[in-house]
C-alpha cells in the first residue's frame, strides 16, 4: 500500500524570510523521489510540511487526497540524527511503533524482531542506541519507521552522518526495501550521486525564495553523465 502526495501552490514565510514560493509537486503513489538542493534552500521545510510538523503560509498539502493536518503514522519519517529513544533497546524502539496496532505482547515482540532482521540487525535487538554504531542506529530508525507500516516514507538526509561504505550499504538496503514494499519515498540529500543511484526522479530545489529549478526522471541502467552535469549546473546556480 502507498499513498500519493500533492503539494499545491505552497508558500512558506517566516516574517520577512521567504523560504518557499509557489511550489507545486506531485509524488505518485509508490514513487521514489530525491529532493536535492544547496544548504538552506528549504528541503527540510518542504519535507516537514509533508510530515505535518509545520504548516504552509499558503497552499495545501494532501496525502492520498486527504489534507495533511499534522503528523500521522501513514507518513513515516527517518531523521538525519536517527531520533532513537536512548532509554529503549533497538527492539524497544521498534515496539514503540507497533504499540499503535494493539497487538498482544508476544506478537509485537515477534514483529519487532522481524523488522530488525529485515534491516540486517537481528543480533543487535537487545542493545541500546548508545551501544550501536551510527549505521546500526540508522538501521534501527529505518526498521522503526517501517514497522508502523507507513504509506509514505520521508527521509531527511538520513545517511548524511555515515561513512562512505556504510552509506553505500544503507542505500542498497533502502532500494531493496522500497522495491519490496512499494512505499512512496521522498528522500532529501545534497549528494547528487546518492540521488541518482537511489531515486527514479530527481527534483532540484534552489534560489531565494526557494522553488523547483529542475525535475528529471532518472533512467534505469548505467549512470547518465549528461543528466548528472545538468543537475550539477542547476545546483551550482542555486
Amino acid at each position: 500500500m502507498s499513498l500519493g502526495v500533492r503539494l499545491e501552490g505552497l508558500a512558506v514565510r517566516h516574517g520577512d524570510a521567504h523560504v518557499l514560493e509557489r511550489t507545486d509537486l506531485e509524488l505518485p503513489a509508490g514513487s521514489f523521489t530525491a529532493l536535492l538542493g544547496p544548504s538552506g534552500c528549504g528541503k527540510s521545510t518542504l519535507l516537514n510540511l509533508v510530515a505535518g510538523f509545520a504548516r504552509p503560509t499558503e497552499g495545501r498539502v494532501t496525502a492520498g487526497g486527504e489534507p495533511v493536518r499534522g503528523p500521522g503514522p501513514e507518513r513515516g519519517v527517518v531523521f538525519q540524527h536517527y531520533a532513537l529513544f536512548p532509554w529503549r533497546t533497538a527492539r524497544g524502539n521498534v515496539e514503540f511503533a507497533l504499540k499503535r496496532l494493539g497487538l498482544p505482547r508476544p506478537e509485537r515482540r515477534r514483529r519487532a524482531l522481524a523488522a530488525l532482521a529485515e534491516v540486517g540487525l537481528a543480533d543487535g535487538a537487545g542493545k541500546y542506541p548508545a551501544q550501536l554504531s551510527g549505521g546500526m542506529q540508522q538501521r534501527v530508525a529505518l526498521a522503526r519507521a517501517l514497522a508502523a507500516e507507513p504509506e509514505v516514507l520521508l527521509m531527511d538526509e538520513p545517511f548524511g552522518a555515515l561513512d562512505a561504505l556504510t552509506r553505500t550499504r544503507m542505500q542498497t538496503l533502502l532500494r531493496e526495501l522500497w522495491k519490496r514494499r512499494g512505499t512512496t519515498v521522498l528522500f532529501v540529500t545534497h549528494d547528487i550521486d546518492e540521488a541518482l543511484s537511489l531515486a527514479e526522479r530527481v527534483v532540484v530545489l534552489g534560489g531565494t525564495p526557494g522553488r523547483i529549478l529542475a525535475d528529471r526522471a532518472v533512467p534505469a541502467g548505467p549512470p547518465d553523465p549528461e543528466l548528472r552535469s545538468l543537475i550539477a549546473r542547476h545546483l551550482g546556480s542555486g
Binding site: 505535518g52 503514522p73 507518513r75 531520533a83 529513544f85 499503535r100 551501544q131 519507521a145
Partner: protein, 259 residues
C-alpha cells in the same frame, strides 16, 4: 550465543578512596584535638564526639530530633518536588508560559531560604506549617529550574518521531517526555534534597522545640562542643545517605544516561 549486553553508563564510584579520605580526616582531627593547638574545650576528639552521640542515642533525644527533622524535611521535600516538577514540565513544554515565569524565578532564586524565615513565621506562625512550607518553597524553586531546563532540552525530533509513529498524547507523555526528562528529574531531586536540608536548618533555627538543628542551637547555648560535633556529624551523614539512596534509585531508572 552472544552475551546479553548490560545497559551503558553503569560505572559507579568505588568506596575505597572515599573511606580512605574519611580515615585520614579522622586521624588529622584526632591529632589536632590532642596537640593542644586549639584552646581546651573548643575541639572535642573523635572519641568524645562518638561518646556524645552514643549518649544522645541512649537518652532517646537523637531519635526524637532525627524523627522531627526527617518528618519536616521529608514532607517539605515531597511537596516542593511534586509542585516544582509539575511546574517544570509545564513551563518546559510551553515556551509562552516559560517566557512569563522565567523573570519571576530569576528574581526569587537568589533570595536564600533563611531570609524568608521571619516572613514565614509572620504568615504561618511558629508551628510545623511554616517550616514545611519554607522547605517546600526552597525545594520547589530548584526542582522547577532543573526540570524546566531538562524538559526544554528534549530534542524536538524525539517528540516528532513519537507523533509520526502514531503515539497519542498520553503515550508521548509517559513514554517519551518522562523518560527523556528523567536524568534532569533525578538531578533535580538530588539537588532538591540537599536544599531541603539547608532549609530545614534555617527553619529550625527560626524556632522549634525539637529537631537536629534546634538541638545544635541548644547545645551551642551550653557550649557543649562535643554534642554540637555529634549533631553536625548526623546532619552530614543524613545528607550523604539521602544522596546515596537517590543516586541508587537513579542508576536503576536512568541506566542509559552516563551521569
Amino acid at each position: 550465543m552472544h552475551a546479553t549486553p548490560s545497559p551503558p553508563g553503569r560505572t559507579r564510584g568505588r568506596p575505597g578512596p572515599a573511606l580512605g579520605a574519611a580515615g585520614a580526616v579522622l586521624v588529622l582531627w584526632y591529632l589536632l584535638a590532642r596537640s593542644g593547638a586549639v584552646a581546651p574545650g573548643l575541639l572535642p576528639t573523635p572519641g568524645e564526639t562518638a561518646a556524645a552521640l552514643a549518649d544522645s542515642a541512649r537518652s532517646g533525644l537523637l531519635a526524637t530530633d532525627l524523627g522531627a527533622s526527617l518528618a519536616r524535611a521529608g514532607q517539605g521535600f515531597a511537596l516542593g518536588a511534586v509542585t516544582g516538577g509539575a511546574l517544570g514540565f509545564a513551563t518546559g513544554c510551553l515556551p509562552g508560559l516559560s517566557a512569563a515565569v522565567t523573570p519571576v524565578i530569576s528574581f526569587l532564586r537568589p533570595i536564600p531560604a533563611i531570609a524568608l524565615v521571619p516572613l514565614a513565621t509572620a504568615w504561618f506562625g511558629i508551628g510545623e506549617t511554616a517550616k514545611r512550607l519554607l522547605i517546600a518553597y526552597a525545594v520547589l524553586l530548584v526542582v522547577w529550574l532543573y526540570v524546566h531546563d531538562g524538559v526544554s532540552r528534549i530534542p524536538v525530533s524525539h517528540l516528532r518521531a513519537a507523533r509520526s509513529l502514531g503515539a497519542p498524547a498520553h503515550r508521548r507523555f509517559t513514554e517519551v517526555l518522562l523518560p527523556a526528562a528523567a536524568p534532569a528529574l533525578l538531578a533535580a531531586l538530588r539537588y532538591g534534597a540537599s536544599v531541603a536540608l539547608l532549609a530545614l536548618v534555617a527553619a529550625e533555627l527560626g524556632g522549634a522545640d525539637s529537631g537536629l538543628a534546634y538541638r545544635l542551637q541548644v547545645d551551642g547555648q551550653f557550649l557543649r562542643v562535643d554534642r554540637m560535633f555529634a549533631g553536625l556529624l548526623v546532619l552530614g551523614l543524613l545528607g550523604v545517605a539521602v544522596d546515596l539512596v537517590l543516586a541508587a534509585i537513579g542508576r536503576r531508572f536512568v541506566h542509559w544516561s552516563a551521569s
